[in-house]
């Protein structure tokens, strides 16, 4: 139940990483409203299906427009919004199942087009809403409700996939580090092209990875997450690859190429070579 709509009764579980992502996204949108002096209605949040998809209903503060679309199809919807209305700021929120399993076919084409939207992926390495099945980012051998004897597939390295597909802005974050995440989302929204902020957003119910990410001295667990050193040059693809070679969960902006024109600019330039016709002229082109 939210303050703005008492009828809406969806809840994330206590401790869910998505709460942190929500707070960061709210801050990023608030900051953008101030920076651009545009109304909140110039922002459109496109969500898929899964726990993450409820973000559009649960956002507090200034209310953007929202689409809660089909499972896996956030990017095509976002493309429609952005290419029909290049003046709008489009943010995609999706889970690892939505974005990397059923929706993976859409990442490549948008990377090649450099679609000018910012994607926030909430990765908990599990299908939470359907009660704990394995996802592309679940690790090899992981026992889940759908892999009773362990997962037979290797876990997907999503960050490496994004670099390989040519995504022009790739960042990696953790839901509990809200300030850092808000900064990365802001930079992703400002990036002129396709940006993905991949967030480790643990599921306390089916795959609680907080301890793995942060480590525990008491239990002798080394933290999987580590901060990318300040001197890293995101424009350097080789350095970006080296970060991924180190393993674990790097935190920060891994790669950014600002030199590629976003999709809407490409279309504008190509259309500049054509001469727009009125409909009567189009009709007359079929004169006997």
């Amino acid at each position: 139940m939210t303050e703005k709509n008492p009828e809406y009764d969806f809840k994330w579980c206590p401790g869910c990483g998505d709460f942190g992502v929500r707070r960061a996204l709210e801050r990023a949108i608030e900051r953008r409203i101030i920076d651009t002096e545009e109304p909140v209605e110039s922002n459109v949040v496109v969500a898929g299906i899964g726990c993450s998809g409820n973000m559009v209903h649960l956002l507090e503060g200034p209310q953007p427009y929202g689409v809660h679309g089909l499972h896996g199809r956030t990017l095509p919807i976002a493309m429609g919004v952005k290419m029909g209305r290049p003046d709008l700021n489009v943010v995609v929120v999706a889970g690892d199942g939505d974005f990397l399993s059923i929706g993976m076919e859409h990442i490549g084409p948008q990377a090649q087009r450099n679609l000018n939207v910012c994607v926030v992926v909430m990765d908990n390495a599990v299908y939470g809403l359907t009660k704990g099945q394995s996802s592309p980012t679940s690790e090899l051998g992981m026992v889940t409700s759908s892999t009773p004897y362990g997962k037979a597939e290797d876990g997907l390295n999503a960050l490496r996939l994004y670099l390989t597909l040519g995504v022009s802005f790739v960042a990696s974050a953790m839901s509990s580090k809200i300030n850092d995440l808000a900064d990365m989302i802001c930079q992703g929204m400002d990036h002129p092209g396709f940006s993905i902020v991949h967030v480790q957003s643990p599921c306390t119910e089916y795959n609680d990875t907080y301890e793995d990410l942060k480590g525990s001295k008491r239990k002798g667990i080394e933290p999987k997450a580590w901060a990318i050193e300040e001197g890293h040059d995101p424009a350097d693809m080789a350095a970006a690859q080296e970060i991924l070679d180190k393993g674990g969960v790097p935190l920060g902006i891994i790669y950014q190429d600002e030199g590629r024109a976003p999709f809407e600019e490409r279309i504008r330039e190509l259309h500049g070579r054509a001469k727009p016709k009125t409909v009567p002229v189009m009709v007359d082109s079929f004169t006997l």
Binding site: Y8, V40, V67, R73, G80, M83, V283
Partner: protein, 571 residues
């Protein structure tokens, strides 16, 4: 008596150049004031394979490709064997004597097209030799062809000075060969030159023009026969500020991008065929659920699965009406002529904008390839509608109330969530049964805004009626005219507005003892729907990949009216 109507067919291997001869012959006659219509069918491959294309020329408006052939032009033995049975008893068969001999057929006339073309200095003019020979046989004056050549290759800078005299020479050689043979089908009556301006185009081009006129400014599509040419036209023509047309990575990407674009305020359209419609299924459900206007053009081909990609069929009607799982009834407009392709496309966009939801424009392969001259549309008189837009400044509830409500546009006040899940008035997800009832009723009630579809009717007092749909209109109407001329008491009904049907039409149909529905599918899809509405309907089906033949329809209607229902399904 002079001829007022004839059909010529070219048959051979794809890539033999006769497609341009058929379309050129049709265009030349249309320019002279006749009515012309082409029909083509070919296999799904880049070059080659058994292909045929025909042109029908008439002094009067006509709706179909015609029946038996006056002249058949063949380029190989297979084509001769395949098509000779379609020639009228007093018709002619012209064969390419460079490639085959038809010695034993008294109707046969051999012309060495390529050899004659080479003698003009333009070896690519074989199709001009064909046109000349044909014109000679059916009595089309030489002046008509020469006028066509001068118009077609009039751009000297582009085509050079030689091509016009060469082509006219080639036509003359063809005409002389025909004259030397002694064969002739008599003279063609003078045309009834229309007193209005005309354009010459095919069904897909007419759909594209209609869409442009209706204000479509976002188009995304994926190549698929026989719809691809719509995508190509849109990409070439939807350019400039506020326009977007692009080949995307799949039909799934296409339909979902339409949803995003329309949500942002654009008028969005895609074109596809059966397999693409299947992939768009879930997206069409979302557009219905979230009340997003958009148009999907489905140019039907033989199905299911990959089916017959380059053959015609009318078997997507049920899919089009209920493309998605769940309670859904998508409005369907199915044009039956090239002209209706234009007006149907405008109507489809208008309907989508008016009721705020998806509309399917159901065309078919035979229309997509059919070229003909039609009256140039008077654009000022073709009304264009735009969605009701929210213009208030706060506190709006997008989905409140049981009926259509204004649609907010991002960038302006009125934020809401367009939701694939069942939702409350704000667009937030709900699981309440009462909301599902309220919203389901709301979605269906909006169909009542679409009851303005028009229909044709004739001889409405008769107890038995014919009502085809889509491209079966043409051959069925010509069959109807023959049946009436033969003394049968039968009524005629036709509409392109198949869902929702015009209520008065449905009322009239319910009064009939029998409604016969000629259609190109096995199931009898329209008669199935009509029976569900309480109409005593039966289909006359065909699923050969070709349009209905006029004499077939005459024969089958006559049999059915004379005797009891035939058991089983007949081809």
């Amino acid at each position: 008596m002079k001829k007022t109507d004839f059909v010529v067919r070219f048959a051979g291997e794809g890539g033999q150049g006769f497609l341009t001869a058929a379309t050129g012959f049709a265009r030349a006659n249309a320019q002279a004031g006749y009515h012309a219509q082409t029909f083509a069918t070919f296999p799904s491959q880049i070059k080659g394979g058994p292909t045929f294309m025909q042109a029908r020329i008439s002094t009067e408006q006509m709706l179909s490709r015609g029946d038996a052939l006056d002249v058949l032009v063949v380029f190989n033995d297979d084509a001769y064997e395949e098509h000779k049975g379609d020639v009228k008893p007093d018709g002619l068969i012209v064969y390419d004597s460079d490639k085959l001999q038809v010695a034993d057929d008294a109707r046969g006339l051999g012309i060495p097209f390529d050899k004659l073309a080479k003698s003009t200095g333009n070896s690519r003019a074989a199709n001009m030799v064909m046109m000349g020979a044909l014109a000679g046989l059916v009595g089309v004056p030489q002046a008509i062809l020469e006028e066509f050549v001068r118009k077609r290759w009039g751009n000297v800078a582009r085509y050079g000075e030689d091509i016009i005299p060469q082509n006219i020479h080639a036509m003359t050689l063809g005409r002389e060969s025909a004259a030397e043979s002694g064969f002739s089908l008599g003279e063609l009556a003078e045309p009834n030159v229309p007193d209005y301006e005309q354009i010459f185009l095919n069904g897909n081009q007419a759909i594209s023009l209609g869409a442009a006129h209706a204000g479509v400014n976002f188009f995304a599509g994926y190549p698929i026969s026989p719809a691809t040419t719509i995508l190509l036209w849109m990409e070439a023509n939807l350019v400039g500020e506020g326009q977007f047309a692009y080949q995307v990575s799949s039909e799934i990407e296409a339909i979902n991008s339409l949803i995003g674009a329309s949500y942002g305020g654009a008028k969005a359209m895609t074109s596809t065929a059966g397999p693409g419609l299947s992939l768009m299924s879930e997206g069409l459900g979302l557009a219905w659920m979230a009340e997003i206007p958009l148009v999907v053009v489905d140019v039907q081909r033989g199905g299911p699965a990959t089916g017959l990609p380059t053959k015609t069929e009318q078997s997507d009607l049920l899919s089009a009406m209920t493309p998605s799982h769940g309670d859904i009834s998508v409005p369907v407009i199915a044009p039956g002529t090239v002209e209706e392709c234009f007006y149907g496309a405008v109507a489809a966009v208008n309907w989508a904008e008016r009721y705020q939801g998806p509309v399917i424009l159901l065309s078919e392969h035979a229309l997509s390839e059919r070229e003909q001259n039609i009256r140039k549309p008077d654009l000022d008189s073709v009304k264009v509608e735009n969605r009701l837009v929210y213009t208030g400044d706060s506190g709006y509830r997008r989905y409140e109330g049981g009926e259509l409500s204004a649609m907010p546009i991002p960038g302006n006040p009125g934020n809401y969530v367009a939701n694939a899940s069942e939702h409350d008035p704000l667009g937030d997800t709900t699981h309440l049964g009462s909301r599902h009832v309220e919203m389901t009723n709301r979605r269906f009630s909006k169909l009542n805004l679409l009851l303005d579809g028009t229909y044709e009717s004739d001889n409405t007092d008769a107890r038995i009626a014919m009502m085809p749909w889509g491209g079966s209109k043409g051959p069925s109407f010509e069959a109807y005219q023959k049946l009436v001329a033969a003394g049968m008491d039968i009524a005629w009904y036709y509409t392109m507005y198949l869902n929702p049907l015009p209520p008065k039409l449905l009322e009239e149909l319910k009064e009939k003892d029998l409604v016969l529905v000629p259609e190109l599918n096995y199931l009898g899809q329209l008669s199935f729907l009509l029976r569900a509405e309480g109409v005593k309907a039966e289909s006359i089906t065909q699923y050969t990949g070709l349009p209905l033949g006029i004499s077939d329809v005459v024969e089958r209607v006559t049999k059915r009216v004379a005797g009891p229902k035939q058991e089983g399904i007949t081809v």
